[in-house]
Amino acid sequence: MADEYISTDEESMEESVDITEIYPQDDFQVLRAEYLPQIKKYSVSFSKHQMSVNTACLKRFPETELVEILLNRKAKKMIIRPMLEEEKDSLLWCNTNGGKRKPRKVTVKYLFEMLFTMMGWDRNCRYKLLGGVAPFRGEKVLFFDLTSEQQFLIGTKNNGNHPIFPKEWENQFGLPFSEHQRASQIGLFDEYKPVPVKEQEGEE
């Protein structure tokens, strides 16, 4: 097999062959994002009657201190909408200490209870939702799918949260390559495609 390895020098590159001719596509699995650090993705977490977003959300909306939360019970979707001015139903989503903005843990006791009941979530667990930025009536908002939650067992101070993965994920790194290709075409947010953080920074 060693002589079948592709050489890295320039000459060899011109003569490279399609690796899928050597190894069948579906022998490969696309590593699940859940197994990788996701600090640069937009997320919101619910745990112990509290809610907080991650730093990526704050960086995406650097001028925003107040947000509104919108929920769709039927579609199981959530929107975090930046607000320009204080309103009755807005909440402060960050703390500013020493000029640096940090996500704020907001106690949302009744919202927590209603949401967890609606979704059938375990109150002893922490739930994280990955989301994206999408247009909303001329504005940009953060969009989350409540059905794509990541579940974590709440750990102790010294022993952090442990992710809980579905049983069918056992003994696999991810979806087979072709299946993954098909799934990504559908899109996570119906007609809206998640915009990666890196591309957006380039646009700005």
């Binding site: 929107i79 909440l91 009744y110």
Partner: protein, 622 residues
């Protein structure tokens, strides 16, 4: 047949023998060597037995203070002193005399009560009284006292001279009861006669007008103003209209040496109230303000409708105008709410964002639910005031977003919220509310009766409706409760709230054209109460017996996260398009218009009278 005759004969014989035995036994047989007799050594009181030593008390009573009755009283005293002297074994202990006291009740009959106490203490053993009617005109008291004296360890007897009855004589009991009943009925008949006489008089143009401060009677018995006393009355009314309390007025009268009706200088707050409440000072007479329901007790009670009344208008010359008098009554009715100002006015905002909002006077209960409602509707129609119903359904993205709900802030525990806690007696605004407004600012409370909303705005200078909702403590502004006892019931009725419950509302802070306002919507109100946690709740870690706060949300909230997105947007649009926060408001007139004496005129009068007093030496006669 023959046998039954024999049986009967035998039976009769046995019965006769038994009877003989009983007769024999009943005859008795005294054996002088084995028998001793002990005669009576302690003689109880006996009016008819002069051999018995008796300590005598005489009771005399006349029931009026009439001078002619005083003569009767003195004659009785002299007579009985001689009477006792004629009995060598009698010792006169005291003459117990009640002068000018009714016999239908034992209350205030001090001499009578002292006599009974002496009798029970064994000081006297015999009481002599002229007649049963003098002793008491109340059958219950009369018989009760006589029996209690007879049942003493050493019985005390009462002799009624006119009726010739001695209470300890067994033969006289029925007669005594009968006479006591007659005396009682005599009082009853007199009372009914008086009642009928009063009715004929009071309801047919002849009201009773006894002397009162500020008035005297002319030769025909009509009330005429006493110009020496009238200034005192005018001062009391004028000062009260200007906002002085009744205690302040009483203190000023005492310091000025003003004399009351009785000629003394002992003014009290209640005395001032009596003057201010007397309709005779505005020229009217209302009869039967009090009445005596029980002729035995003589106790007067307020007439709340149990007796017919007559009101005579323009009966005599007034000292105070009718309108001023009405104003004073309204102020007195609200004085318990610590209302310190003259009649407040209801004001309604005519323009801008707060159009239709009506000012609230938290210390005044005189405005009704209808007053607030009509005031608001006077500037805005019901249709204009209704919440929007057609909200943005023509939006092209409507189908996309129509199912979204804006999560209500009540589901989020955030320190930054503007909350108000309302009970029927007080309101308490959170720290965030008061810190939203500039430092030390007084605020004004307004209500929108149709939209069921409360608003708090910066108070306009010299407004009487302003409230003090904060205080400075340790250099920081902190909330203080606002009393709403006067207004609470009206508020609860306007908002359809349950009496006795406490409501908390999260408000919206709105800043426009440089001005601020807080809006609280009643539809967002949740009930809050404290209950003892028995440890059976969901929080098992909470110690048993600890109190916990319980919140009850409005109906329908349990099935939604918040308002529909489009409704929420429509309300937001209303705020944006609703105009600036303006101060323009107008007075809304409620009820009958009063033509009050002007403030300047009131002050002038007070200054004139009090300056005149200060120039005089000694007490001012009125």
């Amino acid at each position: 047949m023959g046998e039954s005759k024999m049986d009967n004969r035998r039976k009769r014989k046995d019965e006769d023998a038994a009877k003989d035995k009983v007769r024999q036994r009943m005859r008795g047989c005294l054996d002088p060597d084995n028998y001793q007799y002990f005669p009576i050594t302690i003689n109880r009181a006996d009016y008819y037995n002069d051999e018995v030593e008796q300590n005598v008390g005489i009771y005399v009573r006349v029931s009026t203070n009439d001078i002619k009755q005083t003569t009767s009283y003195e004659l009785q005293k002299i007579y009985y002193e001689d009477f006792v002297r004629k009995h060598p074994n009698w010792r006169l202990i005291d003459i117990y005399a009640d002068e000018g006291i009714s016999g239908t009740s034992m209350v205030h009959r001090d001499a009578f009560n002292r006599m009974i106490a002496d009798a029970k203490a064994g000081v006297i053993s015999l009481i002599i009284c002229k007649s049963v009617s003098r002793f008491a005109r109340n059958i219950t008291d009369c018989i009760g006292v006589i029996r209690s004296l007879a049942e003493l360890r050493n019985p005390v007897g009462v002799f009624f001279e006119s009726e010739c009855i001695f209470s300890l004589n067994e033969d006289n009991q029925m007669t005594l009861n009968y006479l006591a009943g007659i005396a009682d009925e005599e009082s009853h008949i007199r009372s009914r006669g008086m009642e009928a006489s009063l009715k004929m008089r009071l309801d047919n143009g002849i009201p009773l007008t006894p002397k009162l401060l500020g008035y005297t009677h002319d030769e025909d018995g009509n009330l005429i103003i006493n110009e020496e006393e009238a200034p005192t009355v005018r001062l009391a009314f004028n000062k009260f209209l200007l906002g002085h309390s009744t205690q302040e007025i009483a203190d000023s009268f005492n310091s000025q040496g003003r004399q009351s009706l009785l000629g003394n200088v002992k003014w009290t707050s209640n005395g001032i109230v009596d003057i201010l409440r007397n309709e005779r000072y505005c020229g009217e007479v209302l009869t039967r303000k009090t009445f005596t329901p029980n002729y035995r007790t003589h106790k007067s009670v307020k007439n709340r409708g149990e007796r017919a009344q007559s009101l005579y208008l323009k009966h005599h010359e007034p000292i105070i105008s009718k309108d001023d008098f009405i104003a004073v009554q309204k102020m007195l009715d609200n004085a318990k709410y610590r209302h310190e100002h003259v009649l407040p006015q209801l004001r309604v905002v005519t323009e801008g964002f707060l159009k239709g909002f009506v000012s609230v006077h938290t210390t005044w209960s005189g405005f009704t639910v209808d007053d607030y409602m009509n005031a608001s509707l006077s500037v805005v129609s019901t249709e204009e005031q209704a919440c929007p119903t057609d909200y943005m359904t023509d939006d092209p993205e409507y189908e996309e977003w129509k199912d979204y709900e804006v999560v209500r802030s009540e589901y989020i525990t955030d320190w930054g919220k503007c909350n108000v806690l309302i009970s029927s007696t007080e309101m308490y605004f959170s720290t965030q509310c008061i810190r939203r407004f500039p430092l030390n600012e007084k605020v004004e409370l307004l209500i929108h009766p149709v939209r069921k909303a409360l608003a708090v705005r910066t108070s306009i200078e010299s407004r009487r409706s302003e409230i003090s909702w904060s205080r400075m403590r340790n250099g920081r502004l902190t909330p203080r409760s606002v009393s709403s006892t006067a207004f609470g019931e009206t508020l609860y009725t306007l908002f359809d709230w349950i009496s006795g419950s406490k409501y908390q509302i999260t408000g919206s802070f709105i800043r426009k054209n440089g001005k601020c306002v807080l809006i609280f919507m009643a539809k967002d109100a949740r009930i809050r109460f404290t209950e003892k946690d028995t440890g059976n709740g969901s929080d098992e870690s909470a110690p048993k017996g600890k109190r916990r706060q319980v919140t009850i949300y409005p109906d329908g909230w349990e099935s939604s996260f918040g308002e529909n997105f489009y409704f929420h947007e429509a309300m937001r649009k209303e705020i944006v398009d609703g105009g600036d926060i303006l101060d323009q408001d107008i007075v809304y007139n409620t009820g009958i218009q009063l033509n009050l004496t002007g403030r300047q005129k009131l002050e002038e009068y007070i200054n004139n009278v009090e300056n005149y007093i200060s120039k005089e030496e000694g007490n001012y006669g009125g």
